[in-house]
């Protein structure tokens, strides 16, 4: 099944049957540009990739099995750690799933707080996505500029709940900490600088840069049918021109009352659905998230403060039943399939992570590209191995 060479390199392809022009190259699992521990086996003819095989599972931590042994609030820290670059989204999805099964309705105040945190997390997650992507393409400076802004968001998170990366913030029935005094003003300061400085600079410096565009605009083109068939969601799907966003189609946590646009890849420099388009959707989504944040902050200022632990049950014991709930995480649709048998532990919790399905299309798109484009493709799908492997 796997052929080992004298140097110990294990390949799934039968190396004796290889055309003599072809070479099997391993990318990873330790590699600067694979965004985590991912191993990609490439069969190349010089620089051209003839076949690609991703190998995942290096970060598998048996999340689903653990969930069967802890109670529902105990699942939250585990859920954080799946997509560790956008932890607020994971816990929000799970909290909403359990709340739907238990029929818990949270107050508008808690909903607004959740939306603020989710959108701040979206901006923070996209800064990593776009920043590391430009770094992979070779421009180091935009990454640092974006990380500077991400630091401001992480400072806000730390101020609120004490953690910078993995928060355990969204609880079943509420959130863990209320927003501190001065949070609104600090967030507005951040947004002002972000919209005035970082975002225009990002567009000028790198997004419309000719070298960047030429690297990406004809690479990794994913047609809409392929995207739907391989369940690409979120910015990956919208990059192919399909304007579907769960926050608009099946809104949750009060999203129906906010005014924002769904960002779609327009094929402005090449065919629609290229790596550039997927990246473009993430860039523009940052501005849309800023828009939502302004509205949410305005709303928050007019509301009375409510107790964020008001609806948090003492023991979370959903009735017997099952539910599949999806939310719009920064990387796509995060789906939780929860089967409850009436106990305090979940009977089965299956997570459909957006990066898992995004990675499944990789072998299809990678055929025929150059090795440099493989890097561009992995980065444009914006994968986080924690979420793929759980």
């Amino acid at each position: 099944m796997s052929a080992a060479s004298p140097t110990g390199f294990v390949s799934d392809w039968d190396q004796d049957g290889l055309d003599t022009d072809e070479m099997v190259v391993n990318m990873g699992p330790q590699h600067p540009a694979t965004h985590g521990v991912l191993r990609v086996e490439l069969r190349t003819d010089g620089e051209v990739v003839r076949a690609a095989r991703p190998h995942i599972g290096y970060l598998h931590r048996c999340f689903e099995k653990h969930c069967e042994n802890v109670d529902y609030p105990g699942v939250m820290p585990y859920a954080d750690r799946m997509d560790y670059c956008a932890a607020m989204g994971n816990t929000l999805g799970f909290a909403l799933t359990v709340e739907k099964l238990c029929s818990i309705e949270v107050s508008p105040y808690v909903q607004t707080v959740r939306v603020i945190m989710a959108e701040l997390q979206r901006i923070a997650s996209h800064t990593i996505a776009v920043g590391t992507y430009t770094m992979d393409i070779g421009a180091f400076t935009p990454f640092l500029h974006l990380i500077r802004d991400r630091e401001k968001i992480l400072d806000l998170f730390e101020w609120t709940c004490g953690a910078r990366l993995l928060y355990n913030y969204n609880w079943v029935g509420g959130v863990s900490h209320d927003l501190p005094d001065g949070f609104v003003r600090a967030t507005r300061d951040f947004l002002r600088e972000f919209e005035a400085v970082t975002f225009p600079e990002l567009l000028d410096l790198i997004i419309h840069n000719r070298i960047f565009v030429r690297r990406l605009s004809h690479v990794g083109v994913c047609s809409p049918e392929l995207a739907i068939s391989y369940d690409l969601t979120g910015p990956n799907l919208r990059g192919s021109g399909i304007a579907r966003d769960l926050r608009k189609d099946f809104p949750y946590s009060g999203y129906e009352s906010y005014d924002f646009d769904v960002c779609v890849g327009t094929g402005q420099y090449g065919p629609k659905g290229s790596c550039f388009d997927r990246n473009w959707v993430r860039v523009v989504e940052m501005r849309e998230s800023a828009k939502i944040l302004h509205q949410a902050l305005d709303r928050l200022e007019k509301m009375e403060k409510a107790d964020v632990h008001e609806k948090v049950p003492k023991r979370v014991k959903p009735p017997k039943g099952e539910i599949y709930f999806r939310s719009e995480a920064p990387r796509g649709q995060l789906g939780y399939y929860l089967v409850s048998d009436g106990n305090i532990n979940p009977y089965r919790l299956k997570v459909k992570s957006p990066c898992f399905t995004a990675m499944s299309v990789f072998h299809h798109l990678a055929k025929g590209m150059l090795i440099a484009d493989v890097i561009a493709l992995i980065g444009s799908l914006d994968i986080v191995l924690g979420e793929i492997d759980r």
Binding site: V25, P32, K152, W159, I206, A372
Partner: protein, 410 residues
């Protein structure tokens, strides 16, 4: 060389009686050795400069801890690299593995022999100076391929092959563009090229045949970026694709040698570009050539070469990387045609006696253009500083202060 002989006899009167081979050996080797030692300390400064430039462009400070303002950072790094274990992976070709960095350094340091730092401050004035520089610099390509092959690593091989293809492709427009100032001056010797630009800023070859020579300069600069594997042409060491390209498997002192060679090559290229286009060791105004008893030639060459290196660093931290085939496209389909057209054009213009030394409006373009550029850059810097102070004032923080999130005000 006769100056060196005079110094030698002054120091050791007995030297006049030495056998001639010893005398020749000493007076040729000593300047070369002095030059080499001096230049070998160069990378210490260039690496520090690169890190500081990178830091400031990325809204951070760069090295600050080792020594005041981090000035001793490269010294610390060098010491660390010297002490690090030089790992030889299994199955590397040991001989090639060791020779490769040596060869790359040879290709990087040898061109210093012909670079003129002053009218008589040149280790050897070869009458094929520019040709010699190109030929020797191409030797590093062999070293790079050796490094990639000997590493027993597919990625290193990729990097080496890409580098070889890139350097060889860009040699052609590079040589053609070198021909342009050479045709104008009529000599390959670097000293002659410099002295043909005597008399001040307006005589520099950059401003002849305006706007033809500036185009040649820009294209030559681009080929130089590709020759020295700098961004946007740093595919061979594309950090995020091939880990470190051809020098992935090198560690410790061997890596230090590659590093040294890269920055030295950058300086060599900048120095050659300065000699060809920017007047070499000549000051912009003849009055500045000699301040009191001190000849300032070396300072001016340094200043101009360092400015070009700063531009290289500036570009590296701004631009992303071109893909290999796009790189090749630029070399063969953009730069080569431009270079050919320029050679034919300038060659024709040189033959016509009326324009043998340049267009009539050249002398009026030089100073205005330079002052405009310098003024523009100064204005940009002033504006950036004022914006920074304004932002700090707005947030009621000390200049360069912390993130706003910690304010507890409502």
């Amino acid at each position: 060389m006769d100056a060196t002989y005079a110094y030698l006899v002054w120091l050791f009167p007995a030297a006049a009686q030495w056998p001639s081979w010893l005398v020749t050996l000493v007076i040729t080797a000593l300047p070369a050795l002095a030059c080499f030692s001096f230049m070998a300390l160069g990378p210490l400064v260039y690496v520090y400069a690169e890190r500081k430039v990178a830091g400031f462009m990325q809204d951070r400070l760069g090295p600050m801890r080792v020594g005041p303002y981090g000035l001793l950072q490269t010294v610390a790094d060098t010491v660390k690299l010297l002490f690090k274990e030089a790992i030889f992976p299994r199955k590397v070709d040991r001989k090639l593995f060791i020779i490769a960095p040596i060869l790359v350094n040879v290709g990087a340091f040898m061109p210093f022999v012909v670079i003129p730092w002053g009218a008589r401050l040149q280790p050897a004035d070869l009458n094929v100076g520019v040709f010699y520089v190109s030929a020797i610099a191409a030797l590093s390509t062999v070293g790079i391929i050796m490094a990639g092959w000997a590493s027993n690593n597919k990625y290193a091989l990729f990097g080496a092959m890409r580098s070889a293809a890139q350097i060889v492709s860009y040699e052609i427009p590079s040589l053609l563009l070198i021909l342009v100032p050479v045709m104008l001056v009529g000599s390959l010797s670097l000293l002659d090229l410099t002295q043909a630009q005597a008399g001040g800023l307006q005589n520099w070859l950059l401003f002849r045949y305006f706007p033809i020579m500036p185009v040649a300069f820009v294209c030559f600069f681009v080929t130089g970026l590709a020759e020295t594997n700098r961004a946007p042409f740093d595919i061979p060491e594309a950090e995020s694709e091939l880990v470190a390209g051809f020098h992935t498997e090198y560690s410790g002192f061997f890596f230090a040698m590659f590093f040294m060679a890269e920055y030295t090559e950058m300086f060599v290229f900048s120095a050659v570009a300065t000699v060809l286009f920017l007047g070499g060791y000549l000051a912009p105004h003849p009055a500045l050539q000699q301040i009191g008893p001190v000849a300032m030639g070396w300072f001016w060459l340094w200043f101009k070469a360092w400015f070009l290196m700063f531009v290289m660093m500036w570009l590296r931290w701004t631009l992303p990387r071109s893909r290999v085939d796009q790189l090749m496209y630029i070399a063969w389909k953009v730069l080569l045609p431009i270079a050919l057209v320029l050679v034919v054009l300038v060659g024709g213009l040189v033959l016509v006696p009326a324009t043998a030394n340049g267009f009539p409006w050249d002398r009026y373009v030089a100073w205005p253009l330079t002052l405009l550029l310098a003024g523009f850059l100064t204005l940009v810097m002033i504006r950036a500083l004022r914006w920074d102070k304004g932002r700090a004032r707005e947030l009621a923080l000390p200049a360069g202060g912390a993130a706003p999130a910690r304010q507890v005000v409502r």
